[in-house]
Amino acid sequence: MINQSLSITHPADTVSAPSGHYLLSLGRHMTILIEKHAIIRNIGLLILLSCACIATLAIGTMPISPKDVIAVLLGHGDAMSQFIVQDLRLPRLLAALFTGAAFSLAGCLMQTMARNRLATPGIIGIDNAAMAFAVSSVVGMGISLAPSAMALAGAATATALAFGLAGGSGTRGYRFIVAGIGIGAIAGAVTQLLLSQVSIDVANSAYPWTVGSLSARDPFMVNLLGAGIALCLIACLLFSTQFALMPFSDQVITGLGANIRHIRILALVLCVTLTGLAVAVAGPVGLVALAGPEIARVLARYRGIPLISSALTGALVMVLADLFGRTILSPIELPVGIVTAVVGGPYLIWILIRRTSRTSL
């Protein structure tokens, strides 16, 4: 009966993509679905991001026209422009791009995993712990002894603690968050305590680690972060169908044949790597992890897990925040972390007020 009506209404000899998707067939057995909306969204974000990048390279104490910026990027242009763009502004731009993308992607992953839009690496204390470890190395040695590596170690420690205190598998998002908030508070207090116990010069040298700044970052760490993001994005694409299941209950996820523990551990490892590397470059600029994914979700009309879009919006927010911080009170530079906090704080309040009716918060 049902089969009959099926054959009448759907002669279906050919496979057609489900609505809103492109079907990419590679040979007979390889088929990949690509969401149309995601393509448009991400191309749009890429264009915006490119514009923001060119603006960042152009604007400064010594303005350079966008045309000259593009010329320099293509390998032309005069020596002066080349020096300013490539040696002075580009490294900082890359740091902004990478840290923004990393924080935001980590935020999206953690929010998805905890099924809670407030669960960002910053809120659960990964940022603070990374900062505390970095500061302790600066303060403890009087010189910067690999504070970047210490930041990574701090991120991993905080996550392991939050995960352990939340009861292993961390199936309940809020336990994880509450444990994380506690760890973050302790790490923040340790940082303050350390800074109050040392001479003003040492405290000053540790200061950039506590506010989040993009000036004069370690180029090696920036490159490492870039490579880290590339790897993490590839992992996100490879496991995108599994990540897409995360909003379901544990029972449904298991019932559909996905290994929930493996997905969680993978997401957690990606979060720690991205956040740790990003803090090692720029210090705690955690609010990007909250704002980036939220903007991406709005653009995605609250559908699916917009991992790639989150990376792009995070990069965009960070680039713009740094541009703003550099120019608004020029020649004084505002650290990017302060700009994101000033913009992100009210933004957080706005989300809380605007979407209280939604269950996902």
């Binding site: 279906a12 897409a244 299941l245 909003p247 029972q251 019932g255």
Partner: protein, 276 residues
Amino acid sequence: MTVTTLHQQTSTHFMKSRLSADNLTLKHGKVSIIEHLTVSLPEGKVTAIVGPNGCGKSTLLNGLSRVHSPSTGAVLLDGKDIHSLPSKEVARRLALLPQDTLAPDGITIEELIRFGRHPHQSLLKQWAMDDQEAIQYALHAADLIGLKDRLLDTLSGGQRQRAWIAMSIAQETPLLLLDEPTSALDLGHQIEVFELIRDLSRQGKTLAMVVHDLPSACRYSDHIIAMKKGEIITQGSPKDVMTKELVRELYGVECDLIPDPMTGSPILINMKRVRN
């Protein structure tokens, strides 16, 4: 030979079955919910699991569907320990419809049903003819064709439950476990869901469901498993197991049973709470 025949007559455990629990103990933290339980689901039949709140019905269902890992014993799917099989492999044979129906935001019916194809898909095989056909079939079977582009949040409880069942149908598993599929549904929607379950059974699926309503359990199942305090009190065909004594033992309720004039399945009347 004789021994086998004898066993088949006396114990349902030796009935032909694809899914069974052997000496299964399930714990929540340190508390045992089910201890050393052995049970099997008769193949091609609808099994109803009944019992008072907290008797371990849902826990048993979660155990049978490998959501809850056993402390002792094992769940056997086609003779193999379910936890030793790849999860996707299990998901192609066994589907679970839990009570908790948390879904992604802004999802349409068709998108929800598409998730049912997850175990049949892989990174490089994300969409094929069989996916398309299975989804069409599930939409038809659950009578959701006209609603397929509606958002899940905007549906009535009955429609939403049908959408979840359709997702399990699209999974195309020979075994389907349902945890209180009709709870929170009105009478019309309850009957609708039960009849859908019956249809699925006629197509050869093996189903097990946790049900609270005893007359419905009798009417729409072939086999009843009655549980109390984590133990199976009795099991068998509805006509054989459903007695006044069982109702009293399970729920502390005194009643009379009369056969439904149309179907012959037992109906409960004159129900009264027994005071110890």
